[in-house]
């Protein structure tokens, strides 16, 4: 089986996020990138599948600061091959990303067939224009399920049986033929730890491949007017008054946020 995992770097929210001068993008001076959490799970799931069913795992990522380390770590975790797509991809959104990833297949002449399984993190925190996985599935003509929390293959390894998370612990089981693009929410097991020494030695012994993809012009009908930091962040708004008044206010807030219904 050929498992492909597409990785995406997102701004690290541990660092303070500031708005850039144009008011429409993040201030890159303070930005630090990290691997999107669900992508880490997608990678883990891929390695688990490889351990279970054999095959190879290829990880592909767009160039970004600190992406090399992520790719080396992926190899340390069990990926067979790591690929970087060079370029300046800052601010690129899902429809365009999916095109890039799809062009990786055509450029490398990887056949997409009944052996191909593509895993991508279900959703990233900056997916303003949607998730990559369904777009990629559309372009490649592959089947898709999102919010996946577990994957099995049938006996012939032609179909994937996947668990999709609905809500409150309720899940559904779906079956779909390969090739498939799956949006992984959580791997069966939490992503494994790789000791620093292992990553360091991989860095010395392995090389990251690069594949030159050309950015395709995508004209989005969506325009960002401004980015801003919500005012609520900071200290709590205090609600005062006798219990009845406080209770009424709490309920108003909960109703406002769609948490309780009448």
């Amino acid at each position: 089986m050929d498992i492909f995992v597409f990785l995406k770097m997102v701004p690290d929210v541990v660092e303070e996020l500031l708005i850039g001068e144009d008011g429409k993008s993040l201030d890159t001076q303070w930005l630090r990138m990290k691997l999107s959490d669900p992508d880490e799970h997608a990678l883990e799931e891929a390695v688990i599948l490889k351990e279970k069913y054999g095959g190879t795992v290829t990880v592909v990522a767009m160039e970004a600061p600190e992406v090399e380390e992520v790719l080396f770590t992926a190899i340390a975790k069990g990926a067979d091959c790591a690929v970087k797509l060079p370029g300046d991809w800052a601010g690129i959104q899902a429809p365009a990303i999916a095109k890039l990833f799809a062009s990786y297949f055509s450029l490398t002449q990887h056949q997409i067939g009944s052996e191909t399984l593509i895993l991508i993190g279900s959703q990233a925190i900056d997916d303003l224009e949607g998730e990559v996985a369904p777009y990629l599935a559309e372009i490649l003509g592959a089947h898709y399920v999102g919010v996946v929390t577990g994957i099995r293959l049938d006996e012939e390894k032609k179909k994937a049986i996947v668990m999709k998370e609905f809500a409150g612990g309720l899940r559904g089981e779906f079956e779909l033929p390969l090739p498939a693009v799956l949006g992984v929410q959580a791997a069966e097991k939490p992503p494994r730890y790789v000791p620093v020494a292992k990553v360091r030695s991989i860095m010395k012994s392995t090389r990251i491949e690069t594949v030159d993809v050309s950015p395709s012009e995508i004209i989005s009908g969506l325009s960002v007017e401004r980015l801003f930091i919500p005012e609520v962040a900071g200290k709590a708004k205090m609600i005062e008054g006798p219990p009845e008044k406080v209770s009424t206010q709490i309920i108003e807030i909960l109703v406002e946020c769609g948490i309780i219904r009448r």
């Binding site: 701004p11 929210v13 996020l17 708005i19 429809p95 279900s122 900056d126 997916d127 303003l128 224009e129 949607g130 998730e131 996985a133 369904p134 777009y135 599935a137 559309e138 372009i139 089947h143 898709y144 399920v145 999102g146 919010v147 049986i161 999709k164 998370e165 809500a167 409150g168 612990g169 309720l170 899940r171 559904g172 089981e173 779906f174 779909l176 949006g183 989005s220 009908g221 969506l222 325009s223 960002v224 980015l227 930091i229 919500p230 709590a236 708004k237 205090m238 005062e240 219990p243 406080v246 209770s247 709490i250 309920i251 109703v255 946020c257 769609g258 948490i259 309780i260 219904r261 009448r262």
Partner: protein, 324 residues
């Protein structure tokens, strides 16, 4: 915006999702502002009876088919595309939930229209619609616009009031007869949450108790509150240590990391080890007698009061609120 607004009604196991009412509410307002009709559509097996609850929309389209029991996103996207074109729709609202994932991007790809994710607010100004999306887990908000106000929008749950989406009005119901695309993504079965204690990481509403609860007898009271809110109880470590709640309910560094929509904290001081496990919750409301309790530093709303004064009244009010 010329065409109508279409809402994809979301439902799970025979219940309309509350997010559907949120969408109906904001959709109504938007439609009125823009002077366009508001439609909703519901797909599924045995969903006809649910249509009557969608009275806020001008008309409801229903497609009832055994094959539509938990249809895959490609099937729904195909149906929506047909409907979009047939009804000359401008804007589609879809729930930003797990149930509906993938539908939006697929539809937008097929329609070649933009898609707005994580939408928390929609406003109209001078005939232009502006959508506010939350990015980075709510750390940043982004105002976006759509060309000709046309596109697909995914609504973030818990963003709009539910009440505005409810009405006793009987909508006009149109039974659809659309061809179903053959799909190879087949829904097999539901997998019930594993037996044993509930998984607090999967709850939308958590009521969290700390040492302010004083003793085990008071657990019943807060439990009643959690029930009334349709959520579950969780706790700080000392409460778990006492054995008042099982270990699976511990929030924090040595317990679970949770991200519910509502985290209602009662008598929790907000020690760093605790905060680590809940700081990313959607809405944090804290009740504590100590005005300087660190929990207020990370809450959205704070109430400096005795939890035993507030909780009983709160339970009462929620109950009356619900029965209204």
């Amino acid at each position: 915006m010329q065409g109508p607004i279409l809402i994809l009604a979301e439902h799970l196991r025979g219940d309309i999702a509350s997010l559907t009412f949120e969408m109906l509410g904001i959709g109504r307002k938007l439609a009125d502002d823009m002077k366009v009709p508001l439609h909703s559509v519901i797909f599924g097996k045995d969903v006809a009876p649910l249509a009557s609850q969608l009275g806020v929309s001008d008309s409801v389209f229903v497609l009832n088919h055994p094959q539509l029991d938990m249809p895959s996103s490609e099937v729904v996207a195909a149906l929506l595309k047909t409907l979009f074109e047939q009804k000359n729709v401008s804007l589609v609202l879809i729930g930003g939930t797990n149930v509906s994932t993938g539908i939006g991007p697929k539809l937008s790809f097929r329609l070649n229209l933009p898609f707005v994710n994580f939408c928390r607010n929609i406003r109209v100004k001078d005939g232009l619609v502006s959508f506010t999306s939350q990015l980075f887990g709510g750390k940043i908000l982004s105002d976006v616009r759509l060309q000709e106000n046309r596109g697909v929008v995914s609504v973030y749950p818990g963003s709009f009031p539910i009440d505005a989406g409810k009405s006793d009005r009987k909508p006009s119901i149109e039974m659809l007869d659309l061809p179903l695309e053959e799909t190879k993504v087949i829904f097999k079965k539901y997998l019930e949450p594993e037996a044993g204690d509930i998984d607090i990481t999967k709850q939308d509403v958590l009521v969290s108790v700390g040492r302010g609860i004083a003793n085990a007898d008071n657990i019943a009271l807060v439990n009643e509150l959690a029930d009334a809110l349709g959520g579950a109880l969780c706790a700080s470590r000392p409460v778990i240590d006492q054995g008042w709640l099982p270990l699976s309910r511990q929030v924090g560094k040595s317990g679970m990391t949770v991200k519910p929509k509502l985290y209602l904290s009662l008598g929790v001081s907000g020690a760093p080890e605790h905060v680590e496990g809940m700081k990313d919750s959607g809405l944090i409301v804290a009740i504590n007698t100590d005005p300087n309790a660190p929990i207020f530093g990370i809450s959205h709303y704070g109430i400096c009061a005795d939890l035993f004064d507030i909780v009983p009244t709160l339970i009462e009010e929620i109950k009356t609120h619900k029965s209204e």
